[in-house]
């Protein structure tokens, strides 16, 4: 007997049994709630754990040839969910006939529009956002250099603009970036101008609404 009053009886056996009961119940339930992962769960867990590495730093690429506006909202959602850093870049390709720092007012104006819209989307979601306009001889090389400088985890590219066919399905620049980048590249190809939204009777009208810039 360790302690005894008129109504309390504390014994060594009682203390040991109480501790064993509490420990066993707790350990049993803990073991039950932590079963080994299955094969598919392991794959899912690995993918989830890689997510941060995949999207820690994101670059969204714009250029006169690459239209990434429709991917910007997705990039912002990814960045918000994973607290990534988001960098939107607009590449102005300077022809070899001009000096590297030549003034190109039309392209620079287009860059302001594209990056302004990107910033507006980013601000609405409160993510860490930067924007940069870059003049370069080659869009591909500029994107790869920026990705290296920023230690980017993901490059997001939109689709190749219509009417500038260069012999490759996605556009040569996009394919080259995807081939040579040292990080993941996400290419968002726009649907066939709202085809999925077209009902059987009003296909042309819906297509025109879905793609007002096509004209």
């Amino acid at each position: 007997m360790i302690y005894e009053s008129s109504s309390v009886h504390v014994t060594l056996a009682g203390v040991v049994i109480a501790c064993v009961i509490a420990a066993t119940v707790f350990a049993t339930l803990y073991w039950m709630l932590h079963p080994p992962a299955s094969y598919v769960m392991k794959i899912a867990a690995e993918a989830a754990s890689e997510l941060e590495r995949m999207v820690g730093s994101i670059i969204v690429v714009f250029s006169p040839e690459i239209n990434s506006a429709h991917m910007m909202a997705l990039a912002v959602k990814l960045a918000r969910g994973e607290r990534s850093e988001l960098l939107a870049i607009y590449i102005v390709e300077v022809p070899y006939t001009l000096p590297p720092d030549a003034e190109m007012p039309e392209e620079e104006r287009a860059a302001l529009d594209a990056l302004g819209a990107a910033e507006t989307i980013a601000n609405s979601s409160n993510v860490t956002f930067r924007a940069e306009t870059i003049k370069a001889r080659s869009t591909k090389q500029a994107v790869l250099d920026i990705a290296k400088r920023e230690k980017a985890d993901l490059i997001i590219l939109g689709s190749y603009r219509e009417g500038k066919y260069s012999g490759a399905p996605l556009g040569r620049t996009i394919e080259e970036i995807a081939a040579d980048a040292k990080c993941d590249v996400l290419i968002g190809v726009e649907g066939k101008h709202g085809t999925l939204l077209i009902d059987e009777g009003g296909g042309l009208q819906s297509a025109a609404i879905a793609n007002p810039t096509e004209e």
Partner: protein
């Protein structure tokens, strides 16, 4: 035209959900079993629980292996059907149906007993009509809710289970810390050791503290990764319930109450002594033993006295509802395999619930309630009960049948386990009961489960104890089985189905479907590979 895919049960039951499904059924049993066994086995209550507990561990392991190997709704009757054939599948299912209907009445009855701890007007001995009518109202309400299709949510079940696990652990820890005397336990066991007949009675009643593992198997079809999760939840449930049963029984025998208990003459009595029917109010006390013990635990008892009766009543009502739901589900599964008429598959046109099954088995539960309550309601019935049933009635009658139904169905489950080990060695068993004897049977390597034999002997001895010591159980239990077998013969004859033999079924295809639907794709691949290898071996052996 595209066809609509057949709707399937969504796999949304998590490990805790699976545990709480079983716990809300088995966990409630100690609320009933403790008082009944203390009343019957006196100083050997812990021994009765230990023996029943060992058998229960064997039962639990058998259910775990079978539910992980065949993760389908249907539970024990499906395993028996598959292992032993249609007629035995029917008998096992019919015995489980008896258990489920008793479950409805017994748990509703004791839920009111627990509330009687706080609301004196519900105490059965002093207000039998109120007790009867409120119990009847609870059963009818549960019946109505199930017909309309309202069940307690899994989240609510999980919450109540978590609360109860915490509460029971606290009661035991405080009890052992501040109110347990080992010398008193030893003294009680030496001085108040019961007669062999009372020990057998106590042991057969102790098994009812472990009934309900069926629920985990029932939910197998809705459990995520059942072959992996069910073994864990089952083992955790077995261990938790075993700890509680052994701990409560030992604590009750060596318990020094916070406030001394005295009998009518003012003499102090031990805690366990307030439960035999000879003690004034003993029958009432049997129905609320955990609440009485919790209220007498030092310090914690001040709080427990208020909430444990409510928690017990809620848990017991959930368990009663499991009986309503489980009986209709078992009947549905049995009619699906042509063991019961197809009327039990019919669903209500508006509520989409098996209303006929629910009404039929709730009706049966109400009949059981009337039979159990009659001696307390009508003084004329007392002499009849005394003449034919040794004066049994009330809780004893329900407990008798509960023990009989459980022992019968569990006996068949052990036989099915052994049969399936021999006839279906190709099905991958992610959990296998230990202690097996390997040998070759019909050209296949099989493992004979020693624990299955030990478990069968244990549960069969409890079945014999039940028949030996329960005057009502030995009449109504076998009577229920005989009635069922007669109805089965008539039904099968009318449907022109084999009566004693089994219907032909493609178990191989069925097993592939079961594993695919369970999402156990690796096990499905393993099974297909096993079957292929077995076929090749047979072809080579048959070749000249």
């Amino acid at each position: 035209m595209a066809s609509t895919p057949k709707p399937e049960l969504r796999r949304s039951v998590t490990p805790w959900g699976s545990f709480s499904w079983g716990y809300s059924d088995v966990g409630a049993d100690i609320f009933i079993g403790l008082g009944l066994v203390l009343g019957a086995a006196a100083g050997a209550t812990n021994v009765a629980f230990l023996f029943a507990g060992i058998v229960y561990v064997c039962i639990g392991l058998a259910y775990t292996e079978l539910a992980a190997t065949y993760p389908v709704a249907g539970g024990g009757q499906y395993f028996v059907l598959r292992g032993l054939g249609d007629i035995f599948g029917f008998i096992a299912g019919w015995a489980v149906l008896l258990d489920f209907t008793i479950d409805i009445t017994l748990f509703a009855w004791t839920a009111i007993d627990y509330l009687g701890q706080l609301i004196p007007v519900l105490v059965g001995s002093s207000h039998p009509w109120t007790h009867f009518l409120v119990t009847l109202a609870v059963i009818m309400a549960l019946c109505g809710l199930n017909v309309v299709g309202v069940r307690e949510s899994t989240a609510f079940q999980g919450f109540v289970s978590a609360l109860d696990v915490t509460s029971e652990t606290c009661i035991l820890c405080f009890g052992f810390l501040f109110a347990f005397r080992p010398d008193l336990l030893i003294h009680t066991m030496r001085v108040d050791w019961p007669s062999p007949e009372h020990l057998m009675l106590g042991t057969s009643l102790a098994i009812i503290s472990f009934v309900g593992l069926e629920s985990i198997s029932q939910a197998a079809q809705e459990t995520q990764r059942p072959a992996s999760i069910i073994p864990r939840t089952s083992v955790a449930l077995i261990l938790t319930i075993l700890i509680y049963a052994l701990a409560y029984s030992n604590l009750a025998l060596g318990f020094v109450p916070w406030h001394p208990i005295v009998d009518a003459a003012g003499h102090p009595v031990q805690f366990w002594q307030i439960f035999p029917s000879t003690y004034p109010g003993g029958a009432d006390n049997q129905g609320k033993a955990v609440a009485l013990l919790a209220a007498q635990v030092p310090y914690f008892g001040a709080l427990a006295a208020f909430y444990v009766p409510i928690l017990g009543a809620v848990l017991l009502t959930i368990s009663s509802n499991s009986g309503v739901f489980g009986s209709s589900r078992i009947a549905y599964a049995m009619s699906h395999t042509n063991l019961l008429p197809s009327i039990f598959q019919r669903v209500h046109p508006r509520y989409r619930t098996p209303a006929i099954s629910i009404l039929a088995f709730c009706g049966l539960a109400i009949l059981e309630l009337i039979f159990a309550a009659l001696p307390s309601l009508d003084p004329m019935a007392v002499s009849t009960y005394a003449k034919f049933f040794h004066g049994e009635g009330g809780l004893d009658f329900l407990a008798d049948l509960y023990a009989f139904g459980a022992a019968t169905s569990y006996s068949f489950v052990f036989l099915a386990l052994i049969a399936l080990r021999l006839t279906d060695p190709l099905s991958p068993r992610k959990f296998k009961i230990p202690l097996n004897i390997p040998f070759t049977f019909r050209g296949e390597r099989v493992e004979f489960p020693v624990v299955g034999v030990l478990g069968f002997l244990g549960i069969f001895s409890i079945l014999m104890f039940t028949l030996q010591t329960h005057p009502l159980g030995r009449i109504f239990g076998p009577g229920w089985l005989v009635l069922g077998i007669v109805l089965y013969f008539i039904y099968r004859k009318r449907k022109r189905l084999p009566v004693l033999r089994s219907q032909r079924r493609d178990w191989r295809k069925s097993q592939v479907d079961i594993l695919r639907n369970a999402g156990e794709l690796e096990l499905m691949d393993e099974y297909v590979a096993n079957v292929k290898a077995s076929d090749e071996r047979r072809a080579q052996a048959a070749a000249p």
